[in-house]
Symmetry: C2
Subunit: 354 residues, 2 copies
DNA sequence: GCACCCCTCTGTATCGATTCAGACTGTATC
DNA sequence: GATACAGTCTGAATCGATACAGAGGGGTGC
């Protein structure tokens, strides 16, 4: 039987309240008595107030949840997610708050249950898929949250940190279009739920499922529309799972046709790197170079010479947590749009003369 | 006022127990009543049993803590730590358990408090510094834990997952020694607490502070002792913080003397990569190449051509969590030693003839 | 000398659930 | 027809703390 606060109280001969105060409100009792209590606690092996009981009574937990709407293990595989987590961790650390990483089971019901059961004071929702149901649960629990994906029906007061996905993507596509590319493939994760890796036909970017992906593809499309390439003229590829492997699977056979694309615009660096992997392995004779762009500017991108759109990953995490832990009084400040920048490296170049 | 379980009970006209059972033990009531209760709950906006209250009564929380005895943000910066976390996450996911990342404040007292206050069922202790005090707290709380650093006074039944640090380090050093190197520098983190970056004099590896570092340096020393280079003949460098920058600071000026080392053995890949950074920038005329080895075989190591000792990072995390969540009946199986392998790449070579 | 206040400490109510022994009903067993 | 038993549901006890009003004693101001 582990000693309780009551046991310490009995040992010292004071009331339970006083022992509690010795731990949580030292100013409420004399220093001498406090020392006696702490000594007795040490003697008894009392490890301090039970965190769970304390949370129940106090009404808060002292930790924030980070929700990935996908495998938790994914979070550590994706370099962008890792940097995001680093930012969250930094802010949490500063506030003396812990981070709870909540894995979501595959089954919808269990996943719901997981969000319902998480002992946290709020959530940073990092969306890699549809998250509406999760937000419903969080709202029902009356917990605050910060979202990182644009949502169509977001209330004005809803806390959000993100970027202008469309404009950011536009900048990359405009760069590629400016280099003369007209036969172009767009590669992205979560274009449609449950679609396999490979080509996909949609009547327009507005049909794209995931809001982040939708924003980026819209930006790509807009830039090419301006140079006379409409949506139907672009090749759309789905790469479910946002991994190098998924990218490789998605572009399989892409360059073997009679008029292969001269550029691939990817919705993330990870996908772009996957494409570069594939291109690097195509050493079957002299092939005209293919331009590739990514998105995020993860650390690996620089080494690979990848042209990409930089967004401040760590900053995003930091601000998300900050918005949760220390919300600004001004409601407008709850909606943060971060800057992005096109980073041109060696993976893009002019269209080769064929 | 958020609805409680009692409110739902009142609405339906049943006892609190029955509502509780509707959520936690569906077999304890008729399906019809259960539906009525769940409906009422939905109507009232009751989000399910309060996790904290549930944990208090049930006696467990459903999450495990991961303790880094350093800045939490470090955990996401160090590629080895990230892979370790990925492993923990994988196991946690499989067990439907959440992971709580606990940031430790600088101040000793606050750090103690943080471990005392973490609402978890057990700890994976990832040590980057002295952790004895943390283990004391955890034991006082009566919580199970898994350690990943060798401890001298570890009980036989103490759960542990790690590698044979000495033997692993020995293999790297023997390789370098076999290449003919005799003027060698050893570079490591946490050689002594609070020591600045740079050279350090110790009478032997047994004086090294951190047990992991101690094991590795002992292995290095053993290999060189066998070829006639004793401890005093080796240059010891401290790189506090285990970062590329720390490595760069530690080796500053190292190669400018009359008889610079021809090889640097680092206690981690991150440090080794820092050394390679420095060497790459020394383009001041033709310098004889310096052999460098790392430790861990993080993803970046391969790209850099770094000779290193591979240890299964993700596996380590996975097994640590597994040991915690599903301890083997056999006490001996609580002590897991993982295999390591020397991976020879291009960063090591024979001593240049001068 | 009285009123007032501050400093310490106590006692009770409360946070929101789960547990478990039992009450009650209806059905199967012999 | 009595006994046993399975299936449902209830009530009180309990998990381990914190909050808050207030009691009691000593000091201060006037």
């Amino acid at each position: 039987m582990k000693p309780t606060l009551q046991a310490v109280a009995d040992a010292v001969g004071v009331s339970r309240s006083t022992v509690s105060n010795a731990y949580s409100r030292p100013d409420q009792l004399s220093a001498a008595l406090r020392e006696r209590i702490l000594d007795a606690a040490r003697q008894l092996g009392y490890p301090g107030p039970n965190p769970t009981a304390r949370s129940l009574r106090r009404g808060f937990v002292g930790s924030i949840g980070v929700l990935f709407t996908s495998q938790l293990s994914y979070a550590f595989t994706d370099p962008f997610a890792v940097r995001f987590l680093a930012g969250v961790g930094e802010a949490a650390e500063r506030h003396g708050t812990s981070m709870l990483l909540v894995p979501l089971p595959q089954a919808q019901t269990d996943a719901r249950r997981a969000v319902e059961n998480a002992a946290v004071d709020g959530f940073c929702v990092y969306c890699v898929a549809d998250e509406e149901w999760a937000l419903d649960v969080i709202r029902a629990r009356g917990l605050p949250y910060v979202s990182t994906a644009p949502r169509d029906d977001a209330g004005a007061d809803e806390r959000f940190v993100g970027i202008d996905e469309r404009a950011a993507a536009y900048s990359a596509a405009a760069h590629v279009a400016g280099l003369g590319h007209r036969r172009v493939a767009l590669l992205a994760d979560a274009v449609l739920p449950d679609a396999p890796a490979g080509p996909l036909t949609l009547s327009g970017p507005q049909e794209v499922w995931h809001p982040t992906t939708r924003g980026r593809l819209t930006g790509f499309a807009d830039a090419f529309a301006e140079v006379g390439v409409d949506w139907a003229g672009l090749t759309l590829l789905n790469a479910p799972g946002n991994s190098r492997r998924a990218a490789a699977a998605a572009v399989a056979g892409l360059f073997d046709g009679p008029a292969p694309p001269t550029a691939v615009l990817a919705g993330s660096d990870v996908l772009a790197l996957g494409v570069l992997d594939v291109l690097a392995q195509r050493s079957d004779g002299p092939v005209p170079p293919v331009s590739v762009t990514g998105f995020d500017d993860v650390p690996e991108a620089a080494a690979a010479g990848l042209t990409t759109v930089r967004q401040p990953a760590k900053e995003k995490g930091r601000i998300a947590a900050e918005l949760l832990l220390d919300p600004p009084a001004d409601a407008a400040a709850n909606h943060v749009l971060l800057p992005t920048a096109l980073v041109v490296r060696t993976s893009t170049g002019p269209v080769p003369r064929s």
